[in-house]
């Protein structure tokens, strides 16, 4: 019974299933109505409020400074050394909190938080 119904419906809808609708200018109408959304890298250059614009420029500046310093001071080498020291001393060192490192992390999180709040405002 169900199979009969399925076949009946399949046959009834077969024409509709093959129907293709011609574009007839639909795509042009959609493209003409696309909003100014900046995807990907365009995000940094989109027109926006001065505060957001400044915030994004500042972020770009910080990233640039980070990359330059990382390259100048041979960051990978430093990281590798620190990691090796960490592995070698892990078993013998006692747990201690490095205040300077903690302050750096907190400052970083604060920076990200402020940036996020500004971008959502």
């Amino acid at each position: 019974m169900n199979e009969d119904n399925d076949l009946l419906l399949k046959q009834f809808f077969s024409e509709a299933a093959q129907q293709t609708i011609d574009d007839n200018g639909f795509t042009e109408r959609v493209m003409g109505r696309l909003p100014q959304v900046s995807h990907g890298l365009g995000f940094f250059f989109a027109s926006q409020s001065p505060i957001k614009h400044f915030s994004r420029l500042w972020t770009m500046f910080c990233i640039l400074v980070f990359v330059v310093l990382f390259v100048i001071f041979d960051g990978w080498q430093q990281l590798a050394i620190q990691f090796e020291v960490l592995l070698r001393t892990m078993s013998v060192s006692s747990f201690s909190i490095n205040l300077l490192m903690l302050a750096s992390i907190l400052f970083g999180l604060l920076f990200v938080g402020v940036e996020e709040s500004v971008s959502r405002a």
């Binding site: 169900n2 009834f12 809808f13 574009d23 795509t27 109408r29 696309l34 890298l41």
Partner: protein, 203 residues
């Protein structure tokens, strides 16, 4: 002057052909990362037909309304394209947006007191056909679809016309697979009875 216009058109056509060979995922990446509008143009060209046909079936052949809803769907897809994670195909993701656009529209036009899917949603048995799209397509299809509740119509349309399986229908509608199955079962029974009562026999 004409020569330059012709040359420009040729360049455009060559670029369009190049874009037309790319996969959906490559096009999505180009839109999301580089903001490439030509890539989005190609995506609209590829999927305008299934999206508009889906709306035509849900609105029972209202061509103007279908085109408006389809435009909204593509605009939403463009704005949110960076949220596409590639977990399903681009078409399934697009149809999910289309489904949401349709139900947002229904919520706006329906009085608060009427739940979506109720018999009084304006798109059931008492329906009289508006402007019909799709010349050559049997008018009986929209009249037959009008016998169904909106959820049944959506599931039937997605499975029998657009060719999605139950899992994909569930993904598009956000319904559980069991619910989709029961909508399909009820919808098919109603449709089959309607067709038999109206003398439509298998040829």
């Amino acid at each position: 002057m004409d020569y330059h216009a012709g040359e420009e058109q040729t360049v455009k056509n060559v670029k369009r052909k190049k874009v037309a060979t790319l996969t959906d995922l490559s096009l999505v990446v180009q839109v999301a990362v580089a903001g490439n509008r030509r890539a989005f143009d190609e995506l609209v060209r590829r999927y305008q037909s299934p999206v508009r046909r889906f709306f035509l079936n849900l609105t029972l052949g209202d061509g103007q309304l279908s085109d408006d809803l389809a435009q909204d769907t593509f605009l939403k897809a463009y704005v949110n394209i960076s949220k596409f994670r590639g977990l399903s195909s681009f078409q399934t993701w697009l149809m999910r947006i289309a489904y949401n656009v349709f139900y947002d529209y229904k919520r706006k036009v329906l009085p608060q007191s009427l739940p979506i899917g109720s018999e009084a949603d304006g798109l059931v048995s008492d329906y009289s056909p508006p402007y019909r799209e799709g010349a050559g397509l049997s008018l009986d299809i929209y009249t037959a679809l009008a016998q169904l509740k909106p959820d049944e119509r959506t599931c039937i349309t997605l499975q029998l016309i657009d060719g999605y399986d139950i899992r994909q229908v569930a993904k598009i509608t956000g319904l559980k697979e069991g619910t989709v199955k029961s909508h399909l079962s009820r919808g098919k029974e109603k449709m089959a009875n309607y067709l038999k009562e109206n003398g439509y026999e298998r040829r």
